[in-house]
Symmetry: C2
Subunit: 302 residues, 2 copies
């Protein structure tokens, strides 16, 4: 089924304890798309500046990503730079230039307005809500958010939560959003705000899914040679939504499988810098690692 993502497209400069890259293709919607396209076609809506090279567009198109929704605006493309430290569970943003993304007003092309699965990558709740006003009758809408919007656009975020089916959010942010002290309580509290599926991401420690049936944890896939955690969360979301759209199912069992695909997709992402590992990632590689992951978690009960 059709899958739409709306979000940032960026140039990233990244430093980790094992290396660095400068001005490479990045952004939440790019990581999402490159992950989700392993499962099926993706429709991408975002904005870039005049400096965005044609080769990057071709690179996305070559991989089954429909770029009809990428607007080219006057100005420079969004730029981000950050550094990860020892252990890579702490990062510092060194600089952010929003550039054309600052005034991003997503325009969903007519050919995308019938999208059945929709992912609203991190953006202001107003921007995210404007997408929902442009898609006709989505079957399943999921969104990401961040501390900035929890602090500065809380009412908009609460409005958004009432209109979406699923939320992915980092552990710290789940506590900030709810004022709870534990993630287990926070996840439950977010369910009460609207979405029927809440996924709290814990970085190297995996994620926890909250539904009306309770909390269920998923550990991260063990990665020996972590190179760059950038985009782990966005490619996780891409694997998740890509899997749901591929199977056209959002029931609990399908959702758990989709979360496992999300987990292994993110594990590939962090094994190289930027989007490098995602570029040539094949579905059979994802499926192979999924089978190993499922077997790691299989527990014999007498």
């Amino acid at each position: 089924m059709s899958l739409l993502v709306v979000g940032s497209i960026a140039f990233d400069s990244i430093k980790t304890p094992v290396g660095s890259v400068e001005n490479v293709l990045g952004g939440a919607a790019v990581y999402f798309s490159l992950a989700a396209r392993c499962m099926g076609p993706v429709r991408l809506v975002g904005v870039v500046g005049r400096d965005f090279p044609r080769e990057h567009l071709a690179l996305l198109q070559d991989r089954g990503i429909d770029t009809a929704g990428i607007e080219v605006a006057d100005g420079r493309t969004f730029r981000w730079s950050g550094e990860y430290f020892e252990g890579m569970n702490r990062r510092e943003t060194l600089s952010v230039e929003l550039n054309v993304f600052e005034r991003f007003q997503p325009k969903i092309p007519p050919s995308f307005q019938d999208s059945e699965f929709v992912f609203l990558a991190n953006a202001s709740p107003v921007t995210q809500l404007s997408v929902l006003d442009q898609v006709r009758k989505p079957r399943f809408v999921m969104a990401d958010s961040m501390d900035l919007w929890i602090r500065t656009a809380n009412q908009g975020l609460l409005d958004l939560l009432r209109r979406i089916d699923g939320l992915v959010i980092n552990d710290d942010e789940s506590l900030l959003l709810t004022g709870e002290r534990s993630i287990i309580r926070a996840g439950k509290a977010i369910l009460a705000m609207g979405p029927s599926r809440v996924v709290v991401k814990k970085g190297e420690h995996g994620a926890i899914l909250f539904t009306s049936e309770g909390a269920s944890p998923l550990p991260a896939y063990p990665v020996e040679d972590l190179k760059d955690p950038t985009g782990a969360g966005d490619s996780f979301a891409g694997g998740l939504m890509g899997s749901l759209a591929l199977r056209g199912r959002t029931d609990p069992e399908a959702f758990r499988t989709a979360l496992a695909i999300a987990t292994v997709t993110a594990s590939f992402t962090v094994e190289d810098f930027g989007v490098r590992r995602l570029l040539d990632l094949r579905k059979d590689e994802v499926d192979g690692r999924l089978r190993r992951y499922a077997s790691m978690l299989r527990i014999g009960v007498d």
Copy 2:
């Protein structure tokens, strides 16, 4: 099959954000025994002072724990007090009085020397090694350790590692022991030091098992009302060894099931202060939660 544990018996004073208790029964070997006895009989070796009440001994005996190996020495029982802060993933030791535990020289009663499964709870490597010299032909020996011994008794610890089958260790301590920067590398490095099973504990984030087949993660069982994390690791070890001893198997599949039992046992422990929840914990409660846990982790792979 027979299961022996050797380790501390203590009086604990514990403060957490939701309450406190003073001078309650605790210690690694006590938590271990009270957890393992849900699976089958346990033989306990430890030392207490003249101040240790007879009722505590009766309480252990009433639960199928053989206390023939508890020595009563002149002096006071080991005392520990600590405080947990917001989120309960950080604790501060307020005071430690080793008392009779300082000169603990485990004497394994003749009736315990044929024990097939042996757990060496946290103690100096010299003390732990002295137990191995007194048990005849154990089938599976597992040990715990801590930062103190890694720093002060490294050679003894390396000697111990060559003589045991399994090690349980905290994540930070695995890094300290190996000098590695990631837990995945650390677990692998510890395998090379001797034991064929290494379990790295990550507190609220679960654990990772390392064997020659690789790393496999297990998330913690989600606990909504965490009251007191004290003894989580020791009751985890008790559930693990209790399950292995009950089934008389240590193959990979049995080990994974045992780790799942360890995980759910620890989840009960932290739901009340000290050993309180463990005192009346029944095997059918553990089994019920085990089934829920196994079903949470079941991933449908097409």
